[in-house]
Amino acid sequence: MDVVWSAVVQAVRLIASGDPEVLRVTALSLQVSLTATGLSLLVGVPLGTWLALARFPGRRLLLGLVNTGMGMPPVVAGLVITVLLWRSGPLGELRLLYTPTAIVVAQFVLAAPIVTGLTVAAMQQLNPRLRLQILALGATRWQLLALLVREARLPLLAAIMAGFGAVISEVGASMMVGGNIPGQTRVLTTATVLETSKGNFDLALALGLLLLVLIYAVNLTLTWVQQRERPL
């Protein structure tokens, strides 16, 4: 247990002293995961709404794919994207391998199905007549989406938290497509794995604690918004 206590002490020291490497790693983690989650929202919410409300042949197949994507193992996603981004691969020209952008792409692939799938569930919970009422009020397609999103904001916020939680805590994809290069693509999760494999358990735990605090802070903010009682 003393290793946990020494980890807490070290974590506090790392943050308080503003250790530049730790700050850099933390900032990159946040940057990459928030961007991937943001992109997942932009794609997942409209897509999920459309999947929930539209009717077309093959809809159930597509929904099945989305739901499968929710359980995508990060390391598999990472491996597939790595092969695509290889110099010899179809997207090799983009020279994205071992860059933060590649990690964003991989995390987007992981988060988007989660956000989409949960959006579908959220929208299907709404009164089906609501869509008609909104259209009757004279809404354009985008206004319809905005109003439905507002109506389903509680489960949608949960979807955001789920998507963000999935990517900020994943290590398999980040490791594969990022390469864990110090100063370039090292994030909190890959740094934790590295320090663990080196046997620096207290540093690894400290990084892990930092990651937990980060996740908690983001989710606390979102939860506070979700649970606010606003009459107006």
């Binding site: 009164n127 007549r129 609501l130 008609l132 009422q133 259209l135 009757a136 009020l137 004279g138 809404a139 354009t140 206004q143 109003l147 507002r150 109506e151 009682e229 606003r230 009459p231 107006l232």
Partner: protein, 256 residues
């Protein structure tokens, strides 16, 4: 083609699963009139309303608004914005009463001060000004119905479509609204189409009527002429029933 009609339908048919559930060869809604669409449950009244509101494109036929053809599939929004629809359920949003009522105006990009004024005005006219700040989900059935009416009326539409607006209310609330609504509509000279299976509602709000049965128009004309043909009135020996609050399930039983 009747150029004076506000809304006209010609040869409109809606098919579902191989069956024709709506067949209206001709229907005109004249400006400033109040038209009732009556018939038993399942007659196709709500479907007709949706076609009129450009929420549903018919499989055959044409809809014209002020003489110009309109299509629910091709840019219906400008014409929809000249109408307002109140459905059977209040379908309020999970926000304040004020925000609910303001929704239609805000969708049209209204100026904030103007919106605030108009919303306040119609909240007052419907007797719910004191509820402006309340969360819509905390309203009683009657209050919610008033709010959904306010949300439609605040738009001062050229055409107001009501789909069984008072069905789910208790007797006193219904009576109160049936008394308050006609003067409001008359003052604004709003063209109204009211879908209902309740003769009392029809009488309170409309003068002309068409009767639907199994998707087809079986009668058209003045309210008193159409109502019996619609099969909604009780048999002569049961006149007491006409005074009781409308119960959708019971009316259906009587008819069947």
């Amino acid at each position: 083609m009747d150029g004076a009609a506000l809304l006209s339908l010609r040869g409109v048919q809606v098919r579902r699963g191989g069956r024709t559930i709506l067949d209206v060869p001709a229907l005109d809604v004249r400006p400033h009139e109040a038209l009732a669409v009556v018939g038993p449950n399942g007659a196709g009244k709500s479907t007709l309303l949706q076609v009129m509101a450009l929420l549903l494109a018919p499989d055959a036929g044409e809809v014209r608004f002020q003489g110009a053809p309109v299509d629910a599939r091709r840019n219906p929004v400008p014409v929809r914005r000249r109408m307002a629809v109140v459905f059977q359920e209040p379908l309020l949003f999970d926000t304040s009463v004020f925000a609910n009522v303001a929704t239609g105006l805000r969708l049209r990009g209204g100026n904030r001060a103007v919106v605030r004024e108009r919303v306040a005005l119609w909240l007052a006219r419907l007797g719910i000004a004191h509820l402006a700040g309340r969360a819509a989900r905390t309203l009683s059935a009657g209050e919610a119905r008033r709010a959904s009416l306010a949300r439609a009326l605040v738009l001062e539409p050229e055409l107001l479509l009501l789909d069984e607006p008072f069905g789910a209310l208790d007797y006193p609330t219904r009576q109160a609204l049936l008394a308050e609504l006609p003067p409001l509509l008359a003052a604004a000279r709003t063209t109204t189409v009211l879908v209902t299976h309740d003769p009392t509602e029809a009488r309170a709000l409309a003068t002309r009527a068409i009767a639907l049965h199994a998707g087809r128009v079986v009668a058209e004309g003045s309210l008193e002429a159409v109502l019996p043909a619609a099969g909604l009135l009780p048999a002569a020996g049961n006149s007491l029933r006409a005074l009781e609050p409308a119960d959708p399930l019971r009316s259906r039983a009587e008819i069947e």
